[in-house]
């Protein structure tokens, strides 16, 4: 075991004395005075009067400590240097920084952020088309699914079916914002995740994920919003989710991938990593 011993280089230029703030009772006295001022509310006015007097005296005393200059005291500095030692053997850093790139767990290539946005927007269009198609087939109105989406921000949606099938400009605006924002966010998620899914990314991202998401929503919506839950046709909901997933996935995978920086994360962080590398001198 080797030991590294160094004295602190800073000690070489140490002064003989250091000026430090002189001890003072006034902060404690002021705190006591303020406490007594308050405590007078719980007891008698005399306590408050004593507190006010103490606070005034302490305030003046404190001011005299710091005006015109802070009062300091000189403390002698010890001449003995402070030894800084380590019993640990030296550790080399990751050789990978200089060596050929080595893929550990990161994908070799990823999609650019724009791929996720494009995929999300395209998937959003597909989902909207499917949803409106459902509205026409089931209710003879494209506004039905749009109103349902917009209504989730409102407290009461216990209205007649005819009202849900009618056009409402505020619900259209709310639904559009929600749909666009969610589509882009989910698209970004697709862009980030698809390179990780080495096998059948479209199947996993386009079918499996919508199934899980639909199942999750189906299980909780009756608790979160039972009225909304009654109006949702879950098979159509699932179909529109799958439509989103497949279209978004197809758009994303058609984008040009960019290579990742292949150094392991530890190497990129510049840390020593015992256990993942040979150590200097082969000491045990």
């Amino acid at each position: 075991m080797t030991a590294q011993h160094q004295s602190n280089p800073a000690m070489h230029s140490a002064p003989e004395h250091v000026a430090l703030p002189a001890p003072t009772a006034w902060p404690a006295v002021l705190a006591l005075g303020l406490t007594l001022m308050a405590a007078g509310l719980l007891s008698t006015n005399i306590v408050s009067v004593v507190g006010i007097a103490l606070s005034l005296v302490a305030g003046v005393g404190w001011a005299r400590q710091v005006l015109p200059h802070d009062r300091h005291e000189m403390v002698a500095v010890s001449a003995a240097p402070v030894q800084i030692a380590t019993p640990h053997r030296k550790v080399t850093r990751m050789a990978a920084v200089q060596a050929a790139p080595h893929r550990a767990r990161l994908p070799l290539e990823i999609y650019p952020i724009s791929a996720g946005i494009k995929g999300g927007l395209a998937g959003g269009v597909a989902m909207a088309v499917l949803a409106m198609f459902y509205g026409i087939v089931s209710h003879g109105s494209i506004w039905y699914p749009i109103n349902l989406l917009g209504a989730i921000v409102y407290e009461h949606i216990d209205v007649s079916t005819a009202q849900v099938e009618a056009f409402h400009i505020e619900l259209l605006l709310v639904a559009t914002v929600l749909h666009l924002a969610t589509s882009v966010l989910v698209g970004l998620l697709y862009g980030a995740i698809l390179p990780m899914l080495a096998r059948r990314p479209i199947l996993l991202g386009g079918v499996f994920a919508p199934l899980v998401w639909t199942g999750f929503l189906h299980s909780i919506l009756d608790i979160v919003d039972p009225i909304l839950n009654q109006r949702i046709d879950w098979w159509w909901f699932l179909a529109s989710q799958i439509g989103f997933g497949i279209v978004a996935g197809l758009v994303v995978v058609r984008q040009v991938r960019i290579p990742t920086w292949q150094y392991p994360l530890a190497a990129r962080a510049g840390v020593e990593t015992p256990g993942m590398m040979d150590e200097e001198n082969n000491h045990s």
């Binding site: 001890p23 719980l42 800084i84 380590t86 850093r93 530890a266």
Partner: protein
């Protein structure tokens, strides 16, 4: 004006000191005293709740105990102990000689201290001492209208209000000092990007205290106006609003949890790398996560108020923000785990407590996410599930890391090592006690047991879980006794620590143990995040890579 240092008596050496280290130690000793008091209150409450229909204490005494237990824990144990560690460590870690405003620092400590004394003076004021005198009985968040003179005559609530007002002044003074010290007094070369994470997190904590203590203080003053000057801020019948109190309190109250946990994150961020023998993984992400938590935590307060009947978009907003605050917290947990990954981990006592924290804080976070979901909270608001969740954060998160900090920095503060064997006993008994008490406390909450009941009916399925929770407290008390014994014994007879017993990398280990009054003979100069690594490994310094 500078005068030579003269010899002083012990009393004036400590009580009138402006030295950040002595003030820090006074904070810590003061908090430990209140930790013991708070623990005794918890033991008494758990004795009462161990069996149904127990008559160990009166309902009035129980109300006073849970009020003082909560108030003491938040304002007079957790906050001052963290301020104490911060006071002691921040100037040392940034290479400064003292805090920016040493006298304000002393004043802040004394305001906090007197605040605690005022709170406990209530026990001796009016009425019978054994019945709790005039101790407050309105709970630690003191909802209106319970605090009005109609429902709370006499001075009991005033003790609570004034003690928090006084301590609040101390907290604000301390926060100003932390911010000024960290921003203005770093040694040469210590850029913000090289600053120890402990300093970063105390900076965030200071900012949070400044923002959040103000509404609490305002609310206390409004309450005093209501009680003494016929005000109507919280009098619904006269046009006031009880919900306004809740908003004011929780605008303080929830960020307060982060005021407490962020310095604890700092302890973990300093200890885990040293005992994993690796640099902190993702330093910039840790800083960003800390700052992010600081900001987002200011927008989550009303998740304590779902049952008030807020509009659905209000509920949705606070669900969302509360979920979001889990993201930077998750980043931190990943970074601590990534720091440990592949490291040569030494499970010394500080590391054991940090490991316990990692697991327990994760569980606390998960139950927090559950309670953040409005429909779930509607079912379990004001139940023992909430109490269990909160104590998972406070004990499993905060107290465990405070213990870790004691084992890690006690050698620096005293020059003596804490006994490792006793430390391991302390840890394992504490783990057993903690999980017995707080794991099982979730279950009666799920079964509908409301918080703050002084007893309960048999036959509801709550008995066994309450008994187990009470048994767990015995283990926790034993663990704390071992800890106290270890501290006292080690202070007098512990093995000499040396300057750098853990082979650590931050500046506090570059001076003697305990440090001299002036901290460093000459102000150090740093070139990386691990200045001591650079000194110990001149052939391979960090600054080449940063």
């Amino acid at each position: 004006m500078a005068i030579p240092k003269s010899s002083r008596g012990v009393v004036s050496e400590w009580l009138f000191t402006a030295d950040h280290k002595k003030i820090g130690l006074m904070y810590i000793v003061y908090s430990l005293l209140f930790l013991v008091i708070m623990g005794i209150e918890a033991i008494l409450m758990r004795i009462q709740l161990a069996h149904p229909h127990a008559s160990f204490m009166s309902p009035q005494a129980f109300n006073r105990l849970f009020t003082l237990h909560g108030t003491t824990g938040v304002f007079f144990v957790a906050m001052p102990i963290l301020f104490g560690f911060g006071n002691y460590l921040v100037p040392l870690m940034i290479g400064a000689r003292d805090m920016a405003f040493p006298r304000l620092n002393a004043f802040s400590f004394w305001m906090t201290a007197f605040g605690g004394f005022v709170l406990y003076a209530s026990f001796f004021a009016g009425g019978s001492f054994l019945q709790g005198g005039s101790a407050p009985d309105v709970g630690w968040f003191a909802y209106a209208p319970l605090t009005s003179t109609t429902y709370s005559p006499g001075h009991s609530t005033d003790y609570w209000t004034l003690s928090i007002l006084l301590a609040g002044v101390g907290s604000v003074g301390g926060a100003v000092n932390f911010i000024a010290t960290i921003l203005c007094m770093r040694c040469p070369g210590m850029t913000l990007g090289r600053m120890p994470l402990l300093a970063w997190m105390n900076l965030v904590m200071g900012g949070l205290v400044l923002v959040t203590i103000s509404p609490l203080t305002a609310a206390q003053i409004m309450l005093m106006v209501d009680r003494y000057m016929s005000g109507h801020f919280f009098d619904t019948a006269a046009g006031g609003s009880v919900v306004m109190w809740m908003h004011f309190f929780w605008i303080f109250g929830h960020p307060e949890v982060y005021v407490l946990i962020i310095p604890c994150f700092a302890f973990v961020s300093e200890i885990v790398p040293v005992f994993s023998r690796k640099a902190m993984f993702g330093y910039p992400a840790m800083v960003a996560a800390s700052v992010g938590i600081g900001f987002v935590s200011l927008g989550v307060w009303a998740h304590h108020m779902y049952t008030v009947g807020m509009p659905s978009y209000g509920n949705a907003f606070f669900v969302l923000t509360t979920m979001i605050v889990g993201v930077p917290t998750g980043i931190k947990i990943f970074n601590w785990l990534a720091t440990m990954w592949g490291g040569k981990i030494r499970f010394a006592t500080p590391m054991l407590f940090c490991t316990g924290f990692l697991f327990q804080f994760l569980i606390a976070g998960l139950t927090g996410i559950m309670l953040a979901t409005a429909p779930f909270d509607w079912q379990l608001s004001n139940s023992y599930f909430v109490v269990a969740h909160f104590h998972y954060v406070i004990v499993g998160g905060i107290l465990f890391t405070i213990f870790a900090a004691f084992y890690y920095w006690f050698p620096k503060m005293t020059g003596r090592m804490l006994n490792e064997t006793l430390g391991k006993w302390h840890f394992w008994i504490m783990v057993i006690g903690f999980h017995l008490t707080f794991d099982f406390m979730h279950i009666p909450g799920l079964l509908g047991m409301p918080r703050r009941v002084y007893t309960y009916e048999p036959g509801r399925g709550w008995e066994t879980w309450n008994l187990l929770s009470s048994i767990g407290v015995v283990f926790q008390a034993a663990a704390v006794l071992i800890f106290v014994y270890n501290m006292i014994q080690s202070y007098f007879k512990g093995a000499p620590a040396g300057n750098d017993p853990w082979d650590a990398w931050t500046l506090e280990w570059a001076t003697t143990s305990p440090p001299p009054d002036y901290n460093f003979a000459a102000i150090p100069e740093v070139r990386s995040r691990r200045p001591l690594w650079d000194i110990k490994h001149p052939e391979d310094p960090d600054w080449k890579y940063e």
